[in-house]
């Protein structure tokens, strides 16, 4: 089954052979091509290049095109403060001192703000990978948008002027519909409504202010646009999972603050797919590749069957997540059984296997060693090995080339002995030369020439 179809199948609540994988590489995409977060969110060519690299290395079944909850706020007059390693922040709130409901004539249009570049990037991604990868169009949820426009006073307004909050929410719903129209028109397969602030209010407040707006947006996506929908939330939204389900999205996505297995039980009652929740900071950003594989393997092991479940990061991945960590997570989703074996071998008794390392100081000719998770199944590993093979074709008998797959116990022991932590990678004469990011043929040739 093609990856996109697999994800669709899950969103239709069918049982699948494996769980689908949707890495939320927003600004992090730039890390793969060496451009910063601001460039990713403002420069169409750099964005598309980076997304293509995400698609190549992380093998997603579905992927977002732009993850920026400030897109609408910017159009509606909020000033943004830009950052090189994260999405921009809203610096002021136009309605903070003007408690009005904006004119509908100000709603986002295709020529507003950064929409031209976003929509064009969506169309290019659709043409490039749309056959096999489901594309996610992400919009800022109505509650978070209302808080961007009004500021923190929105929380007080819930007590002081409930009519105002409802009217403002209704404006934000209309803004959401405009975004949905444009995203679906640009070919998006799944519309995700991202509303992190949902976790900051009670069930009662959710029902009073949010149930209707969200139900209307999901109805609109389902009945009038006929595409799939998702409801993203951040923070401890445990208590709100049930009311979120009642707004009838096709899927929900949660972060590490929610016990995803317990939440799945709630979602199953409403036949809603749940996605998540690789911890962003402790595992993806600060953990090792093995930590990431282990987290995913352990999470999947808790499921009875692959139904109504998507593996994804908790939310937008931090810019600086090590590439190999995501590769590890991808490998664990795409080849769960093999990965489970690797994790087991890694954590258990591999220390008793004796491995002899080459005498790197006295080699007859340059030795290129490629360490992979498994070049047959892991995309990044395939490309890494491919790059090495091309160079071997050029230098022929002048160099030696060997691949060590992490699937073999002996190779795990070798990695440990050499201190190899991130896969895939290339060592030349015992020195780490390339880690996770695939070198171009020229770069690799140059590295070989240096030791020839």
């Amino acid at each position: 089954m093609n990856p996109k179809e697999l994800l669709f199948s899950t969103l239709r609540h069918e049982v699948t052979e494996r769980a689908p994988w949707v890495p939320f590489a927003g600004v992090h995409a730039g890390k793969l091509t060496g451009v910063d977060a601001t460039e990713i969110l403002t420069d169409e060519d750099k964005l598309v290049d980076a997304l293509m690299e995400v698609n190549r290395l992380y093998k997603p079944d579905g992927q977002p095109v732009v993850f920026d909850l400030q897109l609408e706020a910017e159009i509606l007059g909020c000033d943004l403060v830009w950052s090189k390693d994260g999405p921009p922040s809203v610096a002021n709130h136009p309605l903070a001192d003007t408690m009005n409901i904006p004119c509908r004539c100000t709603l986002p249009t295709p020529d507003a703000g950064r929409m031209p570049m976003v929509l064009s990037a969506m169309r290019r991604m659709k043409a490039a990978v749309g056959e096999t990868t489901a594309l996610y169009g992400l919009l800022c949820g109505p509650f978070t948008l209302a808080s961007h426009l009004r500021g923190n006073d929105i929380f007080m307004d819930m007590y002081d002027d409930d009519e105002y909050v409802k009217d403002l929410m209704s404006f934000c719903v209309d803004s959401g519909k405009k975004m949905i129209d444009m995203f679906v028109d640009a070919g998006m397969d799944v519309i995700a409504i991202v509303d992190p602030l949902v976790s900051q209010i009670s069930v009662d407040h959710f029902e009073e202010f949010l149930s209707e707006p969200f139900a209307e947006l999901f109805r609109y996506i389902r009945e009038e646009k006929k595409v799939f929908s998702s409801f993203f939330v951040c923070g401890n939204a445990t208590r709100n999972i049930e009311v979120m389900c009642k707004t009838a999205p096709d899927s929900i996505s949660v972060d590490e603050n929610v016990d995803i297995i317990a939440a799945k039980a709630v979602c199953d009652q409403y036949n809603v797919v749940i996605g998540g929740n690789i911890p962003l900071t402790s595992v993806m950003l600060h953990g090792t590749q093995q930590d990431n594989m282990k987290f995913v393997v352990d999470m999947l092991a808790k499921l009875d069957e692959y139904k109504n479940f998507i593996v994804a990061p908790g939310c937008d991945m931090p810019y600086a997540v090590p590439v190999e960590n995501t590769i590890g997570a991808a490998q664990a989703v795409l080849n769960t059984a093999d990965s489970a074996e690797m994790v087991k071998n890694y954590t258990s008794a591999t220390f008793d296997i004796e491995v002899e390392l080459p005498d790197y100081e006295n080699l007859e000719r340059p030795l290129v060693e490629v360490f992979t998770l498994d070049s047959a199944t892991c995309a990044a590993c395939t490309y890494m090995m491919g790059a090495a093979n091309v160079v071997k074709g050029t230098f022929r008998e002048k160099i030696d080339l060997v691949e060590y797959k992490f699937t073999e116990k002996e190779n795990i022991a070798r990695c440990m002995k050499m201190g190899v932590t991130n896969l895939p990678c290339i060592y030349i004469n015992g020195q780490l030369k390339f880690s996770s990011i695939i070198p171009s043929t020229e770069e690799l040739e140059e590295a070989v020439n240096e030791v020839l």
Binding site: F155, Y319, A320
Partner: protein, 211 residues
């Protein structure tokens, strides 16, 4: 129900106007100012704090309760000054440089005030020097740093270093918090305390002064 209980109950419901009236009434009845503060206002806020920690109430409930507390405290303020009662301790607080998120920081502020501490709120996007300068000039005993972003939490390290360089590291306690922060990180940067939520932060901070 005693009037102090009534103050506490209404404060928890965020009924600011009623709280203000009841506090005035309690003053007129001759109840000691310190008792109104402790058993009426601060005890109500403390209950809200515990409920917030347990996920029983959320941001809006805390904000309106804090507003009610402030309305009541306004009535008491001149009387507290008159009778020479001082705040338990002084804290300066802010979201670190590069970070504009202030919901969590504001909650901490309210909880700290709810424990009777004086809080100097430095706002968001606060450079390390500003924390140190304020702690020195205002004689703060505690610096509280907040961050929501993985990319800005590193600034907390700079705050700790700046305190060392200014020679006040021994005098002030540095507390850190925010979504990406944890105990490990706190130890790693050499800060004094990490607390996972606003209510715990206030408990730990007030504990520093009673010790």
């Amino acid at each position: 129900m005693s009037i102090l209980n009534e103050i506490s109950e209404n404060l928890q419901k965020g009924k600011a106007k009623i709280v203000k009236e009841l506090v005035q009434q309690a003053v007129d009845e001759g109840i000691p100012v310190k008792q109104i503060l402790d058993e009426g206002l601060l005890s109500g806020m403390s209950i809200i704090g515990v409920k917030f920690k347990n996920n029983e109430v959320f941001v809006p409930e805390v904000l309106v309760a804090a507003r009610a507390m402030n309305m009541g405290a306004q009535v008491l303020k001149p009387l507290l000054v008159e009778s020479g009662i001082e705040a338990v301790g002084k804290v300066c607080l802010g979201t670190v440089k590069g970070d504009l998120h202030d919901i969590g920081k504001n909650l901490v502020k309210m909880m700290l005030e709810g424990k009777g501490l004086e809080v100097i709120d430095l706002g968001t996007d606060v450079p390390p020097e500003k924390f140190i300068e304020t702690a020195q000039n205002e004689n703060c005993d505690v610096i509280c740093c907040s961050a929501l972003l993985t990319t800005t939490m590193g600034v907390m390290q700079e705050v700790v270093d700046a305190a060392k360089n200014a020679g006040i590291r021994e005098k002030v306690k540095i507390m850190v918090g925010g979504a990406p922060v944890n105990q490990n990180f706190c130890e790693q940067i050499g800060a004094d305390y990490y607390t996972p939520d606003a209510a715990t932060c206030a408990e730990v901070a007030v504990g520093l002064f009673s010790a």
